[in-house]
Amino acid sequence: MERTLRVFRFNPETGQEPHYDTFTIEVEDSWTVLDALNEIKWHHDGSLSYRRSCRHGICGSCAMMVNGKNEATCEKPLSALKGTITVEPLKSFPVIKDLMVDQEDFFEKLRLVKPWLINHKAPPTDKERLQSPEDRKIIDGTWECILCGACTSSCPAFWDNQGFLGPAALLKAFRYVGDTRDEGLDERVGILDSKIGVWRCHTIFNCVEACPKSLNPTAAIVKLRRRLIQEKL
């Protein structure tokens, strides 16, 4: 079966304007968009650049815009897409080359919310820091984030102010603030309650539309807001 892909191309070293190249390739029924990009790179145009790694929807490397929607391309079957498939880099991140974007700032924002468990008590020596199944449920829908950047890339509040932490970093912040074993809110409140923190979200829900893992970063942001208000009261 043949499929046609229209792929965004940009190489800053050549000075050529960004443009689209069209490839018509032979594909198999079971292929994903990433499989098709691999086919192009390996057999048609070796200069095509994109980021990929695990091929199992875990690493978050291969997020791109497919027919105008952010997707983890390794999990998007070609069979779910009709006609010519347009593949573009994630919006609002600087393009390094072709479909590869610069996510340095994205990960810097993540580091600002301290995405690790903060607990100054000594851990038990005979077991892990356990929590009840009920407490564990609080952070469901946050730990599944694969940090692909699809949500932050689609966020109008981030487009307007690139200083904004963005939905991915805030979702990850709630992963730890909402963890009953964590004691680090005091260390995170400065950044979460700042001008680039939770209050900049306008509840537009683009992040929810964009998440390839069907997570709800807005819900996490809302919970962070409530927690900050509770702390102030």
Binding site: S154, P156, T203, I204, N206, E209, T218
Partner: protein, 124 residues
């Protein structure tokens, strides 16, 4: 622009209606300030605003305020309720309530305008 969906449309319309309401408030203050120039001046302005085009604008501003109000309630439910998970359904629910309120307002307005025109006719 990312993609069209209820959340994005709700936010976009909230911005637009917010700007229109601000513009209306400025106009409203401008109209009211004519009171300071005496009853004749005020009556002149009010007669001008009684023209059909301004009645149409008045109906529009009812819709604009109702939208902003109903979406505001939706946002409160998102922030303080469970609305972050049900925001699309919430959007259609508040819009449906908004339409009912709009029809009721128009009904009242039409009654008031008809009553007014009868009163004006009686004075002639």
């Amino acid at each position: 622009m990312y993609r069209w969906h209820a959340g994005y449309v709700a936010w976009l319309l909230n911005r637009i209606t917010g700007i229109l309401i601000t513009f209306y408030l400025v106009m409203h203050i401008w109209v009211i300030h004519h009171l300071a120039h005496g009853p004749e001046k005020y009556r002149m302005v009010m007669d001008f605003l009684g023209s059909p085009i301004f009645v149409f604008f008045e109906i529009c501003i009812i819709g604009v305020v109702l939208y902003h109000m109903m979406n505001g309630i939706r946002i409160v439910l998102v922030d303080f309720g469970n609305g972050a998970w049900t925001h699309k359904t919430l959007f259609w629910v508040v819009m449906a309530i908004g339409v009912v309120l709009f029809v009721l307002c128009i009904w009242e307005l039409a009654g008031a305008l008809l009553g007014l025109s009868h009163a004006v006719a009686a004075t002639h």
